[in-house]
């Protein structure tokens, strides 16, 4: 015996209320997705600086105090100069290490929709060192010229765009005044900048080490060499950057995003629950009729579930169709021109939002099952 309880009947004959439910779901989906894309600029934008750049360049400085108390292998009884000398020689001898130079550094800043990251870049005293640095990092000068005089810098295209600077401008005039002039633009996937020191301003001095990824764990090297690192030392290597990325970008943004999703979806769930209860109430007579003319409860339940799947399915599909092009448009029209690194396609987020919608669908089982349990026949309704 075929059930003629069609789920489409309700949807096609109640276009307005079905459209309201579908658009509420679709819009919630799209809004959360867009917020996710915006927040993720803090992850995507900082990825090159925090995960790629430190695979090629590291910075470190070991304090006198640390060297004094450390028993550095090969110079256990030496003074601090000897110990440092041994450390540098051992490092230089390591496979993958191209250069170690003591240099002043500056900080390039990259702004995301939320948050800003500052990353050091070296100030070398000779053009040869600058060329070696650019060769090692794979950066290419695309405009202007390389620094030739003190206080000249070449800056990565992405940073220039992001901070709205151009060749000829003073670099970070707000922080350094008229000390560093931008003379060139370099194209680099890992946001490389470099320059020559000015005698008055800088952001400190470090050993700048050019290495490859296999050698990029300086902390481990110093520990193996017997250096007891403390808060007075600075080691900006790959593990340190990865830790920053995990704690300050990835986890932070994930937590913010989870909170926003939970709050928005909670309100969507409550709204859907209220709407659905009233929707079921309006259809009591209909369900009673089905029960009276011999439909079984599971057949009525099947129809209700099919209706819900249609509404949620369409809500999800329209949400995706709405969210992805909006995200692409946002990226192309707003974020890219502002020099903010962004990604428009997050399949994981789509799957996550789909799961949340399934969860809301599960929640709606409560009123559905209650109304099925309470379903009467027409004689009871008329009693």
């Amino acid at each position: 015996m075929k059930s003629n309880l069609s789920a489409w009947n309700y949807v096609k004959n109640n276009k307005r209320s079905a459209a309201t439910m579908i658009s509420a779901l679709a819009l919630s989906f799209a809004v959360i997705y867009i917020v996710h894309v915006l927040l993720m600029t803090s992850v995507e934008g900082f990825k090159p600086m925090l995960l790629e750049f430190p695979k090629k360049v590291g910075f470190f400085s070991i304090s006198e105090k640390t060297l004094e108390k450390s028993k550095v292998k090969g110079a256990e009884d030496g003074d601090t100069k000897e110990k440092m000398q041994v450390l540098l020689e051992t490092l230089r001898a390591k496979e993958g290490v191209k250069d170690i130079t003591w240099a002043q550094v500056l900080q390039a800043q990259l702004q995301a929709v939320i948050g800003m990251w500052s990353e050091e870049f070296p100030l070398y005293t000779s053009t040869e060192e600058i060329e070696r640095y650019l060769n090692h990092t794979g950066a290419k000068l695309v405009k202007g010229r390389l620094p030739e005089a003190p206080g000249e810098v070449v800056i990565s295209s992405m940073v220039l765009k992001n901070r709205k600077m151009q060749i000829g401008d003073w670099f970070r005039k707000d922080a350094f005044g008229e000390s560093f002039r931008i003379v060139g633009e370099v194209e680099s996937d890992i946001m490389v900048s470099v320059g020559m020191p000015n005698h008055h301003y800088n952001c400190g001095s470090y050993y700048v080490i050019l290495y490859d990824e296999a050698t990029a764990n300086l902390t481990l090297f110093f520990e193996e060499m017997g250096v007891e690192l403390s808060a007075s030392d600075t080691v900006y290597d790959l593990p340190a950057h990865r830790e920053h990325f995990r704690d300050d970008c990835d986890l932070l943004i994930a937590n913010i995003m989870n909170t926003i999703s939970a709050v928005v979806m909670f309100f969507v769930a409550v709204a859907m629950l209220i709407a659905y209860v009233s929707f079921l109430r309006n259809r009591v007579n209909e369900y009673c009729l089905y029960a009276s003319i011999g439909y079984r409860r599971w057949e009525v339940y099947g129809m209700m579930m099919r209706e819900m799947f249609i509404l949620f399915g369409l809500g999800f599909l329209i949400g995706v169709v709405l969210a992805i092009p909006s995200a692409i448009l946002l990226k192309v029209a707003v974020l890219d021109p502002a020099g903010i690194v962004s990604v428009a396609w997050y399949p994981g987020m789509i799957a996550k939002l789909g799961s949340i919608m399934l969860l809301i669908l599960g929640l709606l089982q409560i009123p559905v099952l209650v109304s099925l349990w309470k379903m009467k026949t027409i004689d009871q309704l008329e009693d």
Binding site: N13, I293, G294, Y295
Partner: protein, 223 residues
């Protein structure tokens, strides 16, 4: 077709003052014909009809339908009977408001093939609902048209019995007689039970059962 023995229905079983809707009824109903059950409000006529149609389970007694004891069958068997062998016309039409008259008929059908769809259209046409009306929703139809669509819904599976509870209650005189004419035609080779308190519509009934206070006060004869 129906053999009813000692049928009782008591409401408020748990209270001291039991309310008898039916008091030990004994009655037999044939396979065909239009049978009217009349009586004032509270006489038990609707309760009797609902007990026969398995919508209500009597407190005591037996309802035998074509050799099957209806008081002991399972819920699934009851639903099967209501779906395949019984048709219902209620006091209010209970058409689904968002469906067309045609869809309202088809929703009760056990099949959804072209033949059944054609049959639904034929029924509706025979009941005076033309091509224009069958596509309309109940809100766009008159009370009489709605009730006629409800009759078509009741007849779509060619049920052996049609139970009609006050089918003309919300209709004007002309529509009421039209509805009764249709039911009379159907009763030529099927059983149609009409519960009403309006004697005037039972002029064509083959048999009238009068009820009073849960009991049959008169059985047989016509008006």
């Amino acid at each position: 077709m129906f053999t009813i023995k000692n049928l009782s229905m008591i409401y408020d079983m748990d209270t001291d003052e039991k309310m008898y809707a039916l008091k030990g009824l004994d009655v037999s109903l044939p396979d065909r014909g239009l049978i009217g059950i009349i009586g004032p409000s509270g006489s038990g006529k609707s309760t009797l009809m609902y007990c026969l149609s398995t919508l209500k389970k009597p407190t005591d007694g037996s309802v035998c339908y074509n050799g099957t004891e209806l008081t002991t069958i399972t819920d699934a068997e009851r639903e099967q009977l209501r779906r395949r062998e019984f048709g219902f016309v209620f006091q209010k039409h209970y058409l689904v408001p968002y469906m067309s008259a045609f869809d309202n008929v088809m929703v009760a059908a056990v099949n959804n093939d072209a033949e059944t769809q054609e049959k639904a259209k034929k029924f509706l046409a025979a009941l005076g609902l033309g091509d224009r009306e069958i596509g309309k929703r109940p809100a766009k139809l008159s009370g009489g048209q709605c009730q006629r669509a409800a009759i078509a819904r009741a007849m779509i599976n060619d049920p052996k019995v049609i139970f009609a509870d006050e089918p003309t209650a919300s209709l004007d005189h002309e529509n009421a007689f039209n509805v009764m004419r249709i039911l009379k035609e159907y009763s030529v080779d099927r059983l149609v039970l009409v519960v009403t308190h309006d004697r005037s519509i039972l002029g064509d009934a083959d048999r009238i059962i009068e009820m009073w206070d849960g009991e049959i006060s008169r059985d047989g004869g016509t008006l």
